[in-house]
């Protein structure tokens, strides 16, 4: 199956999406912009006043003037402080609200990805977008965001201040601009490939470490510890060397920034000198201009150094917007097409993935309401694919699946999922309290109902032993459930979801013989009264079914009740003999 990637937004679409979010909060956006500007402007007062003070000193004004100017600076400081506090809080409220809305929409779209798309994209890309990309954007908005916005504003306003002092001093300050632009244009194309290489190398280093540590027991058994240490050392050295190389590029970038600073500062001082000599400006104005320019060093440096972060956040944002712009969650559209019963009919003339070989052909599978049918066959015979088709996760290339006489594509995805549940081989215990995991299947279930479901699938034994009962933290980072317990949990969710049809494709083999028997009993209990299609990974699961289909290379080679098939002495009876050793 070829993997396709989820959409990524173009820069234009990304901007449009962000602007639309800001437009949804017009009052907050306007307040944030005004406060940020005012706070930056308050910072310009001190150098300006200092210039005036220099003039007063030169003209020999009285001591009262000094006190006056000091009071003005103090007043500006107090006002500036208050404005900064307000601006930071309001800007954070704006940025963080937009961010929260975005991440909620991304997850909503990700969770409601149509089955067909999910089967093609896999969950890997989605996981990296909802995890890594969301984190990159969040830390950029929360961490660098206020700094970058503040720096950009103070650059613009300080430049404005220079022009306000004297337009010629303003122009002199602008002389530095090409130097900064040059530095950035020198740096970005040189560093980008390095950062890419470094990311790959450090990914490899982590993999080498993880592989070696997780496989330590095996490495010892085969006496290949040194090979693995050498592998770790080599990948660590590569990462180190790349890190140092990219740092060299970075230091040269900083030198170029320093050069631009010198050029600008010299231009301002020379202009001030000329203006003072021509009596077109005071020494105070020249002083204020030089101090203004010196004040620019930090914010400009910050903007240039954060350029990488901003670009990375932009790329991640484009991937998030790509997911967020997927169609909204499907709703059960139109009238219920009137399902007349719980019987399931699967007719597959032919099925294949993309241009791949035919994996299923000429299959007619009828499950009467409440009956239990088992699929049997070797690995690769097409059992799981047929289960996916029957559950409506995959649409057959040529064929139809009907529930109570209604084709699934007419029933729609939402209604199909409410009526047909699939427990696949993929086992996942959701991290958090056990209660939350179970309630995913039925949010309004009471604790008694949850305990009842666990009891029905035979989980009471280990459930009683849990330290915190339903509050026990399970899954990643919590109490580790065994594979068999996780399977029972999946069955308990099925009980709570209470669908008419259950398709079971769970691998019970890992549980060992007695554990597997417990799981089979649990599956029987969980599916009692439901129309059930079960992929028999263990032949005993077939023995208790009403009917058995034996698949071989995508075709049905035998069909009948288990006892009949055993007596008939065909493929099923051969498998049965091999199975029992």
């Amino acid at each position: 199956m070829t993997r396709i990637l989820l959409p990524t937004a173009t820069p234009r679409q990304t901007w449009a999406a962000i602007r639309a979010e800001f437009a949804r909060l017009p009052g907050l956006s306007a307040a944030a912009a005004a406060l940020l500007m005012a706070a930056s402007a308050a910072g310009l007062v001190a150098p300006w006043v200092l210039g005036l003070l220099v003039d007063d000193v030169i003209t020999g004004a009285g001591a009262g003037r000094v006190a006056y100017w000091a009071t003005v600076i103090a007043g500006a400081a107090l006002v500036g402080g208050a404005l900064t506090t307000a601006a930071t809080a309001v800007a954070a409220r704006l940025g963080e609200t937009v961010l929260a809305r975005l991440r909620e929409r991304v997850l909503d779209r990700a969770l409601h990805l149509p089955s067909a798309t999910l089967e093609r994209t896999g969950t890997g890309d989605l996981v990296s977008r909802t995890g890594d990309d969301a984190t990159v954007v969040a830390s950029a908005i929360t961490g660098s965001g206020p700094l970058v916005v503040g720096a950009a504003l103070s650059v613009v306003l300080t430049a404005g201040g220079l022009f306000a002092l004297d337009w010629r001093l303003g122009l002199a300050g602008l002389v530095a601009a090409p130097g900064y632009v040059f530095a950035l244009r020198w740096y970005l194309p040189r560093s980008a490939p390095y950062y890419m290489k470094k990311r790959i190398a450090s990914g490899e280093r982590t993999q080498a470490l993880a592989g070696a540590l997780r496989g330590a027991a095996t490495a010892r058994a085969y006496r290949i510890e040194e090979t693995h240490v050498a592998h770790v050392a080599a990948s660590s050295a590569t990462t180190r060397d790349l890190t140092l190389e990219v740092f060299q590029v970075y230091t040269r970038f900083v030198s170029r920034i320093n050069r631009a600073e010198l050029i600008g500062l010299a231009a301002v001082l020379i202009t001030g000198f000329l203006l003072v000599r021509g009596q077109m400006a005071t020494v105070g104005a020249a002083t204020a201009a030089a101090l203004y320019f010196h004040r620019l060093f930090n914010p400009i440096g910050m903007l240039l150094l954060e350029a990488d972060t901003v670009l990375q956040a932009g790329a991640s944002l484009a991937r998030l917007v790509g997911v967020a712009s997927l169609p909204a969650a499907p709703v059960a559209a139109g009238a219920d097409p009137g399902v007349t019963g719980d019987d399931l009919e699967v007719v597959v003339t032919e099925h294949h993935y993309d241009d791949g070989p035919v994996v299923l052909a000429d299959i007619t599978l009828r499950l009467a309401a409440g009956s239990r049918v088992a699929l049997v066959g070797a690995s690769g015979a097409g059992k799981s694919t047929l289960a996916g088709l029957a559950a409506g996760i995959v649409a057959p290339t040529d064929g139809t699946v009907r529930l109570g006489g209604v084709p699934l594509d007419e029933l729609g995805e939402v209604r199909t999922r409410q009526r047909i549940a699939l427990i696949s081989q993929e086992v996942h215990v959701f991290a958090g309290p056990l209660r939350d995991d179970l309630r995913l299947a039925r949010p309004d279930a009471s604790d008694d109902e949850l305990r009842g479901a666990l009891d029905l699938v035979g989980a009471t034994g280990w459930f009683r032993a849990l330290p915190g009962g339903l509050d026990t933290h399970v899954g990643e980072g919590g109490h580790r459930l065994t594979a068999a317990q996780a399977q029972q949990l999946a069955l308990a969710r099925l009980v709570l979801a209470d669908p008419e049809v259950a398709v079971l494709d769970e691998a019970t083999a890992e549980a060992g013989s007695s554990g597997a028997r417990d799981l089979e009993r649990a599956a029987d209990a969980a599916t009692a009264g439901r129309t059930t299609l079960i992929v028999a990974h263990r032949l005993t699961q077939a023995a208790s079914a009403d009917r058995v289909l034996v698949l071989d290379q995508g075709r049905v080679v035998e069909e009948g009740s288990p006892d009949d098939l055993l007596r008939a002495g065909g493929r099923y009876s051969e498998l049965w003999a091999a199975w029992n050793g």
Partner: protein, 556 residues
């Protein structure tokens, strides 16, 4: 931890610190230089003085730029080299043949090697930065005192005092931002967890409930973030206001001195500039203190691994020549094992059924040579020599334990199969056949690439590749633990037949710990472990006929 690192990197560090100090000193001199240019050239309109002072300014910036460029490189290189060294030593320690008793799990070890190695090495760089900040303070202090003693002392005492005052807000700030980060991390973990379980959610039509749960968590995270942002805003506002007030005081005092002619206009500019500048090195010093605390915690974790005692103390002997009975256990007590005795002769395939899985784990740990001699009683003899007298490499050359929890490595199929030393393709392909894993060869043969942990293979394929790897190693004694749990019945029967035939032909001994009837029937002899010792012995068919508890345990 820090001292040997400083010693190892002393050359780079000395150069780095010297240059970074020089850089900070030149940074401190920039406002002074601006004052000088105003004083000597702008105020006097002296062209000669302007050219001279511009040349001096250019020189100052050149020194500033070069000092940082090379100083930063040296100290960065010192840190990176040290982190690399720590990482390699951690890997060596984690993979030590003797094992290690740090008590850390794989995940924790990985985080120590990946992140703590870096953080503890960061201390080196922090030390350099601290030295540079001190030199900046020194230069500023000298410049200020040269302008005016009282003013200089006032600034030098006032600025650090004010910064320390602001620092008192830090705990509140840290608490809020930690709460915010925790709640963001939780939200992100929830998103990843829900998406990772997406197929499960879809299977029961629970996507909508999951989206609702995420939205609630996201709201909580938003509130925490806003609380933290308000505190941060308050801190920023306060810092900016206090710095502004300080500036007003310095400007007032220096302006008064200038009016009285006690200092020049240029000196006024320099004093004001320096008063603003010294906040930077003072803040850097504060940051260095925090960062050294983090580095120390990381260094402790690194040291815990590096100094962990080995799990076993192996002997020094080479293995004796092959004996008839390759492995003999007598009266073994370890974990749940309670006086277990058994003999594994060459050429025999022995099936072991353990009613209690802990018995199986204990037995495998002893056979793998990962249990220290002090921790078990009884004797373990390999080719008649006591196991504890042998070098580990010798012990493991004779007895190979392939764990149930299969670990395949990143690389080609050939690399993985050749782990046991066999390197010709014929041997490897024959082993693939024994493990009935021909399907893995389909696309690219032995050049098939496996990603980390063989995640691009199915569970059954991974199990069979691991089995093939063990068979290709052709050890005198091969110990397998539930090797076919993810394999379908037909293939399992094939494996049982081929495996026993291949091992018997050599003749090499094979121990299969399993409850699979197919594998047990193919074994020459089956031992049943109950309560830590052998309770029954015989062929599979005899045991099925005679022992009801055996039937219950192995028949499906």
């Amino acid at each position: 931890m820090l001292r040997p690192a400083l010693r190892r990197q002393r050359g780079r560090l000395a150069a780095g610190v010297t240059l970074l100090c020089l850089h900070q000193a030149t940074e401190a001199l920039v406002p002074v230089a601006i004052g000088v240019v105003i004083d000597r050239a702008v105020a006097t309109s002296d062209t000669g003085a302007l050219l001279l002072s511009l040349a001096a300014l250019a020189l100052l910036f050149t020194v500033l730029a070069l000092a940082w460029r090379f100083g930063a490189r040296f100290s960065y290189a010192a840190k990176e080299h040290e982190a690399h060294l720590a990482r390699v030593r951690l890997a060596e320690r984690a993979l030590d043949p003797r094992g290690q008793r740090s008590g850390l799990r794989d995940g924790e070890l990985l985080s120590v090697a990946a992140s703590d190695a870096d953080k503890s090495a960061g201390a080196i760089r922090t030390a350099g930065l601290a030295a540079a900040a001190c030199s900046a303070l020194l230069v500023s202090a000298v410049s200020l005192i040269m302008v005016d003693l009282a003013l200089g002392l006032g600034v030098l005492v006032g600025v650090p005092l004010v910064l320390m005052g602001l620092q008192r807000l830090a705990p509140l700030l840290t608490r809020r931002s930690e709460a915010q980060q925790a709640s963001l991390a939780e939200t992100s973990a929830l998103a990843v967890d829900l998406v990772a379980g997406l197929r499960v959610l879809r299977g029961i039509g629970a996507q909508h409930h999951a989206a609702g749960r995420f939205a609630a968590a996201s709201h909580d995270a938003l509130s925490a973030t806003l609380r933290a942002a308000t505190t941060k805003g308050l801190h920023l506002g306060l810092t900016s206001a206090v710095n502004g007030l300080l500036l007003a005081a310095v400007t007032g005092a220096a302006g008064w001195l200038a009016l009285n002619g006690r200092i020049t206009v240029g000196e006024l500019v320099a004093v004001v500039g320096l008063a603003q500048f010294i906040a930077e090195p003072v803040q850097v010093l504060g940051w260095c203190v925090q960062s050294l605390a983090t580095a120390r915690a990381s260094a402790r974790r690194v040291a815990k691994v590096l100094q962990a005692a080995p799990a076993v103390r192996p002997g020094t002997e080479s293995a004796a020549p092959p004996a008839c009975e390759r492995v003999v256990l007598t009266g073994l007590r370890y974990g749940t094992l309670n006086g277990l005795s058994l003999r594994i002769p060459a050429g025999e395939t022995v099936g072991i059924v353990a009613y209690d899985p802990r018995d199986a784990e204990a037995l495998l740990a002893v056979l793998a040579g990962t249990v220290s001699r002090e921790d078990y009683q009884g004797s373990v003899r390999i080719d008649e020599a006591p196991a504890e007298s042998l070098r580990l490499a010798e012990l493991r050359r004779v007895v190979l334990v392939e764990q149930h929890d299969v670990a395949l490595f990143e690389g080609t199929l050939r690399d993985n199969l050749a782990a046991g030393g066999a390197d010709d393709d014929d041997t490897l392909l024959a082993a693939i056949r024994v493990a009935a894993a021909e399907d893995v060869l389909h696309h690219r043969g032995l050049d098939q690439v496996l990603v980390e942990r063989g995640a691009n293979l199915s569970g059954g394929q991974r199990q069979r590749v691991a089995l093939a790897r063990a068979v290709a190693a052709a050890p005198p004694v091969l110990v397998l633990h539930d090797p076919t749990t993810a394999v379908d019945p037909v293939t399992e029967a094939l494996i049982a037949e081929r495996l026993t035939a291949a091992r018997r032909a050599r003749p090499q001994a094979t121990v299969v710990v399993t409850s699979s009837p197919a594998l047990l029937r193919a074994a020459d002899r089956v031992l049943v472990l109950k309560d830590g010792r052998i309770c029954a012995e015989g062929t599979h068919d005899d045991l099925v006929a005679a022992e009801p508890s055996y039937r219950e345990a192995v028949l499906r």
